[in-house]
């Protein structure tokens, strides 16, 4: 058996599960019911409802990504600074929830945030006014941050621990203070991790439909929901595929922008 035959399963995998499905989406997206070529399904993104859903998805995904980054970077710095044993315990605890089904975890937040939920029970017990969080965009952002935070922490942490202490010390020797060292040495060197993290949070946040359904009460329509409904209840695969193509273009553009900030091009996600 030559080396080439080892690659065969992967080739079969890529053709069967990436190329063919992608070709089908392109085919459905660019045809109508009778099979004739049309751009209507792609142009459908211009209708008021669809465009609004796309912008809303983009906005919520950007906010969630920014919050994840702001939470994850300091955490990764802390993890880097403490001893290996303790940091692996903390990383383990962070990853632990990911071993559970994300649908279940999101449903748990539904129970916590709902009007009669745990959060409001606690507020009531403390004599504070209750809040309505569930079924708002706030709840969706919350769900996204919770679900995707580990995907931001891990790549940043992995890059940070590889930055040798000697580089930081060299900067300090040459007269840089702590702030300067961070912005001119640590941060630029950790960019590949940051870029990976942003991609791994932004893309699922942009395309999710589960989080918005469960925590938005079906009242907030993201582009993922529009596509899901086109495939399921609307039974219009052409529209769903056309909109998926638009979404794909959006994600490609955002990844191209990100790649500019990744000096070594080592972002593999």
């Amino acid at each position: 058996m030559g080396k080439k035959s080892f690659a065969l399963p992967y080739v079969v995998w890529m053709i069967g599960f990436t190329i063919i499905p992608l070709a089908m989406i392109v085919f459905y997206g660019l045809t109508d019911n009778s099979g004739a070529f049309t751009l209507d399904n792609v142009a459908a993104i211009m209708t008021a409802e669809h465009a609004q859903a796309l912008w809303l998805s983009l906005g919520l995904a950007l906010i969630s990504t920014a919050i994840c980054l702001l939470l994850a970077y300091p955490l990764a710095m802390i993890l880097k600074s403490i001893s290996k044993n303790r940091s692996s315990l903390i990383v383990f605890i962070f990853i632990l929830p990911m071993w559970m089904n994300s649908l279940l975890r999101t449903m748990a937040w539904q129970t916590i945030l709902s009007n009669q939920g745990i959060l409001n029970l606690v507020l009531e017990f403390l004599g504070l006014p209750t809040v309505q969080v569930i079924n708002t965009t706030g709840a969706i952002i919350f769900g996204m941050v919770y679900d995707f935070l580990p995907f931001m922490v891990l790549p940043i942490y992995n890059v940070l621990i590889k930055i040798g202490q000697d580089k930081v010390e060299a900067a300090r020797d040459l007269g840089a203070n702590g702030v300067q060292t961070f912005f001119r040495v640590t941060l630029p060197l950790s960019m590949p991790g940051v870029v990976s993290g942003i991609t791994m949070v932004f893309v699922p946040a942009m395309t999710t439909f589960v989080i918005s359904t469960l925590l938005g009460g079906g009242k907030i329509l993201l582009i993922g929901n529009v596509i899901e409904q086109a495939f399921t209840s609307g039974s219009n695969w052409h529209l769903g595929s056309g909109l998926s193509l638009v979404l794909m273009v959006f994600i490609l553009i955002s990844m191209a922008i990100l790649a500019k900030y990744d000096p070594e091009g080592s972002n593999v996600v």
């Binding site: 058996m1 008021a48 409802e49 669809h50 609004q52 859903a53 709902s114 009007n115 009669q116 309505q132 079924n135 708002t136 009460g217 079906g218 009242k219 907030i220 329509l221 929901n225 529009v226 409904q229 086109a230 495939f231 399921t232 209840s233 609307g234 039974s235 219009n236 695969w237």
Partner: protein, 363 residues
């Protein structure tokens, strides 16, 4: 390398042989082993059967049941249409059955294999003609009405006698609607005095605008979660199918149900056999089993949707039969309308209108 593969193959062969042995042994015990008479692939609504019925069916017929569920008709249809997953027997609602018949997705049932059809009341076979004109394709499983479910601690019976309550600002954020376009359009169409089967774009847009106006008052658009939200008193009033009420009342006795005076929808859910079914006779055995009075009674007592099975009704307690929510009297049925299948173009229009409602901003 080759040796390893040979070893692995030998291992697999041994294991399968062993598995074969154990199967043969258990079938000698007299009772059927599920699967020895083939399988039947069932596609039903979620929470729409007493699950012990499935075990009984397997034990009595030796047919293994592969059981899947769907949330609503619109989700079920594309799956059957695509044919990627083949089901032998499915339980859609009236208008969806009409659509499936029109598009040739279901086949005629051989009623020689379904002798228990005699227990289904004539009146129900009659109303099934609305979507299956010659009673060739469908066997009624349940029926009911769409109405308002409300919590009597917060809402009076008079308020709940009209659909207007769903637009009452007093109940802002305490109203739930169904995540299903035709059900949610029903109150608006009834209040406007239009048919539930209207194909007039102007009328539909008017009704859609009502739903958009209503949206700031709505807590959520959901399906099965309505039950929990009503029981926990997260919401006080919502759309509901009559069959949900008994189960909910068991958990929270303050919940009541009404079919508003403006009128509403009357529905029938029935079993059909898809054209591409691979185990038609097993599907017929399944339908026949569910038509057996004692089985229909078990299912009714579990799912509490009214049963069209006269044999089962005879077995029921008076308490159930006198409950008008479950077994509505004729005056209620008279003001209700069965959903008809309106054609592909209308499906698209309804889907677009629903997207407009869902996309409308809440603030």
């Amino acid at each position: 390398m080759k040796k390893r593969i040979a070893l692995l193959l030998a291992l697999v062969l041994t294991l399968t042989a062993l598995a074969g042995c154990s199967n043969a042994e258990s079938s000698q015990e007299g009772e059927f082993t599920p699967g020895e008479n083939g399988v039947v692939k069932v596609y039903n609504w979620g929470d729409y059967i007493d699950e012990s019925v499935i075990d009984m069916f397997e034990a009595e017929t030796g047919i293994e049941v592969v059981y899947d569920v769907f949330q609503n008709n619109e989700e079920m249809y594309p799956i059957i249409e695509a044919g990627g997953t083949v089901y032998d027997v499915v339980c859609p609602s009236d208008y969806m059955i009409a659509k499936m018949i029109e598009n040739g997705l279901v086949q005629e049932i051989n009623f020689d294999n379904v002798p228990n059809i005699e227990y289904i009341g004539d009146i129900h076979m009659e109303s099934a003609r609305a979507f299956d004109p010659e009673n060739k394709y469908a066997v009624p499983y349940t029926y009911g009405t769409l109405g308002i479910m409300y919590n009597t601690n917060y809402v009076t019976d008079e308020e709940a006698a009209t659909w207007n309550i769903l637009w009452d600002e007093k109940y802002s954020q305490k109203i739930v609607m169904y995540e299903s376009v035709r059900d949610s359009l029903t109150p608006a169409l009834e209040l406007l005095g239009y048919s539930l089967n209207t194909t007039d774009q102007g009328e539909l847009e008017e009704a859609t605008q009502m739903l958009i106006d209503q949206k700031p008052l709505v807590y959520a658009y959901v399906m099965d979660q309505i039950k929990d939200q009503m029981i926990n008193e997260e919401v006080y009033v919502g759309l509901a199918y009559s069959g949900e009420v008994l189960a909910i009342q068991e958990e929270n006795p303050d919940i009541a149900f009404s079919v508003p005076e403006e009128g509403s929808n009357y529905f029938v859910d029935a079993w059909v056999i898809p054209s591409n079914a691979e185990n038609k006779e097993n599907a017929e055995a399944w339908i026949n089993f569910l038509c057996r009075p004692d089985i229909a009674q078990m299912n009714f007592e579990y799912i509490t949707y009214s049963t069209p099975n006269d044999g089962a009704v005879e077995l029921l307690d008076e308490e159930y039969l006198s409950n008008e929510d479950v077994f509505p009297d004729d005056s209620v049925i008279e003001r209700c309308e069965v959903f008809e299948y309106l054609g592909e173009d209308m499906d698209q229009l309804y889907a677009e209108l629903w997207t407009q409602v869902k996309a409308a901003s809440v603030n």
